[in-house]
């Protein structure tokens, strides 16, 4: 009994001192893509001509890889819906009056996030992680390498806060080794009891520097009711 207690003390101490790459990735997944949740967000996409457009949307997630998105703003996308099940995604457009398959790498409503950034956050499954040197002693850095060619990025460098492993920065690389996106996570706040995550994510397009997209989370509720029929193709547009 004493030994167990001691061991668990030692291990929790060890964790606090030096989390492994897998710990950091698991924490990231649990912050950015927790099990079942409902969220209201606003995405503002700024384009190279300086104009910007704000999209309002509601997310519903169930299990690890079932998503629904409903768009409410602006008028041109009102009524659009997205359903994602594992590797497959559909979009429902009111004027098509039906669900249509879409590719995973598509940008998300013409912004700089792509569908996988927003709808599928499961780095532990998609990438192999190793600890990398950090710029600051309060930070930890992990480098993620894609396990398959199906992922959106070939490599990701993720910087998290050492104290609570909250994400601070992300750098996303293409197969050519070029940085294609960089993200800044800020305004970390408690959305649900004991659940903290960044309220603002700015995704900078590193290829076309004038382009960036900002995702602001308005509300985030865990363990909501997410009935399975919401995650069927037939439910789109209903």
């Amino acid at each position: 009994m004493k030994t167990t207690l001691l061991l668990s003390l030692v291990s929790s101490f060890a964790f606090a001192a030096e989390p492994t790459a897998a710990d950091i990735v698991a924490k990231y997944d649990s912050i950015m893509g927790p099990g079942t949740y409902e969220a209201q967000t606003e995405m503002t996409a700024t384009r190279e001509d300086g104009t910007s457009r704000t999209y309002g949307m509601k997310f519903l997630k169930r299990d690890t890889d079932k998503f629904r998105v409903w768009f409410s703003e602006p008028a041109s996308v009102k009524g659009q819906e997205i359903l994602r099940l594992g590797d497959n995604a559909w979009v429902y457009l009111p004027n098509l009056k039906r669900a249509t398959r879409i590719a995973n790498r598509d940008s998300f409503q013409g912004g700089d996030f792509n569908n996988a950034d927003v709808l599928r956050v499961n780095y532990a499954t998609d990438y192999d992680a190793v600890i990398a040197p950090s710029a600051s002693p309060d930070q930890l850095t992990v480098e993620l390498k894609a396990k398959s060619t199906e992922t959106s990025y070939d490599k990701i460098r993720l910087v998290v806060r050492k104290s609570d492993l909250q994400p601070l920065k992300g750098e996303y690389f293409g197969t050519s080794g070029q940085m294609i996106r960089s993200a800044t996570f800020s305004e970390h706040k408690e959305f649900d009891k004991g659940f903290v995550r960044p309220a603002r994510i700015v995704m900078q397009n590193e290829v076309v520097k004038a382009r960036k997209s900002e995702m602001v989370t308005k509300s985030f509720k865990l363990n909501v009711e997410a009935p399975p029929q919401r995650f069927m193709q037939a439910d789109l547009g209903k």
Partner: protein, 433 residues
């Protein structure tokens, strides 16, 4: 002059050898001219497929469009008004104007079976496919004058051209359509139910996603390199999809027969003012430059080898001639002919051979090219599956250069035999048997 006469008469002494050497020269130079004509004809064919099939003679864009063509050029559009069209059409040399929109889109093919009731996904083989394409939208009635070749590509493909400028219809590349199994809809029959139509999805002018249900009325046979992922669509349907009512990204222009390309471009640019840019079709096809460079390189090597082999024949014939005439050369030297004159004599023989052989060869080659130019050879352009007429052509300057090359080459080839002849010692040469 006397030496030249002597040279001709010397050549006539061994007629069989002279004829054989001439035949080699004729064949070599003739083939060079013919191959050049073929290459130039092929180049023309590629260019014309582009001009008559995708671009039109001239294109009008909003200023800065061509430079930003890889960015998001939908915002670099302009209002397509009857006044603007009339302004362009009024320029001398312009025959027709066709408004178009070029845009990137995702085409999503329907699932082959309805989705299972239990919400699970279809097996991989029954799922529809999504692919990215470059689409060109136009009104078929206006476009046919500017790029008539497209209609020919439909003939070699399947189905038919778009029915009107507003129909929710597309045509896709034939190879691509077969690859992702796009169903072909026969015009005039009942439209398939919504879920069995193709969906074309594209970010609109404001980058918001939009889509349209369409049917594929026909396919375009591959006629130019890199055209597998392209499609065409009715202009009206594209304007609704892209939320660009009354707006387009380009005008394609056809010119009246014989109108000067560059001068007309400049006149159109002057008429439209600084908000627009005008390009000729040749300015818009960068990959043709690569093809031209490769062809020129290969032709250079091939023609060098031809010339080298033919000239080796000339060296051989001249050397034989020198060896046969040792005593005669000795006699000439003995009666006071200069060594310089001996060299000139043999080089003169080479020049005469080269000039006659080269001229006959070049003229025969030119005759073949001219005949084929008038009749055309029906073969596909490089990278294409559609046969089109290849019309070989060479200019007279190249023909003249070929004759000059053959003559100079033959003179060079006789240099060594001539030098050997001039080095003979009269006493030994006279005693030679």
């Amino acid at each position: 002059m006397a030496l030249l006469k002597l040279a001709v008469r010397n050549l006539l002494r061994n007629r069989r050898r002279t004829v054989i050497t001439l035949v080699a020269l004729v064949a070599g130079v003739g083939a060079m001219v013919a191959i050049k004509g073929f290459i130039l004809g092929q180049r023309r064919q590629i260019l014309e497929n582009q001009m008559r099939g995708t671009l039109g003679a001239l294109q009008v864009h909003k200023k800065g469009y061509v430079e930003n063509v890889l960015g998001s050029p939908l915002t670099l559009d302009f209002a397509d008004t009857p006044e603007l069209r009339a302004k362009v059409a009024a320029v001398k040399g312009v025959k027709a104007v066709s408004p178009r929109i070029e845009f990137g889109a995702q085409v999503s093919t329907p699932d082959k079976k309805p989705a299972p009731e239990d919400g699970s996904d279809l097996p991989e083989a029954d799922r529809g496919a999504t692919s990215f394409l470059m689409m060109t939208a136009f009104d078929p009635a206006l476009e046919q004058v500017v790029t008539p070749q497209r209609w020919e590509w439909v003939q070699w493909g399947r189905g038919q051209m778009l029915e009107s400028g507003t129909a929710e219809q597309v045509l896709l590349n034939d190879d691509f359509a077969k690859g992702v199994e796009v169903p072909l809809w026969k015009a005039g029959t009942a439209l398939p139910p919504l879920e069995q139509r193709l969906a074309i999805l594209a970010p609109d002018r404001d980058s918001s996603l939009n889509g349209v249900n369409v049917v594929m009325v026909g396919t375009l046979a591959s006629a130019t390199p890199n055209d597998r992922r392209v499609g065409v669509m009715s202009l009206g349907a594209a304007q609704t999809l892209l939320r660009m009512e009354g707006r387009v990204t380009e005008y394609g222009l056809d010119l009246v027969e014989g109108a000067p390309l560059e001068a007309t471009r400049d006149a159109v640019a002057a008429a439209l003012g600084p908000d627009f840019e005008v390009h000729t079709w040749e300015q818009r096809i960068p990959f043709v430059k690569d093809i031209v460079e490769t062809q020129d390189f290969v032709f250079g090597i091939v023609s060098s080898i031809f010339l080298f082999v033919v000239l080796l024949g000339v060296v051989n014939a001249m050397l034989m001639s020198v060896l046969e005439r040792v005593r005669e050369i000795g006699t000439m030297l003995a009666v006071g002919m200069r060594r310089r004159q001996i060299v000139s004599l043999f080089i003169g023989e080479g020049i005469v051979l080269g000039l006659i052989g080269g001229s006959i060869g070049a003229l025969l080659g030119f005759a073949w090219v001219s005949y084929m130019n008038a009749h055309g050879i029906s073969i596909p352009a490089p990278g294409a599956k559609v046969p089109s007429l290849l019309r070989p052509s060479v200019d007279l300057l190249f023909v003249g250069r070929a004759i000059l090359q053959a003559t100079a080459g033959a003179a060079l080839a006789s240099l060594w035999p001539a030098w050997r002849a001039s080095r003979l010692r009269p006493v030994e040469a006279l005693a030679h048997t």
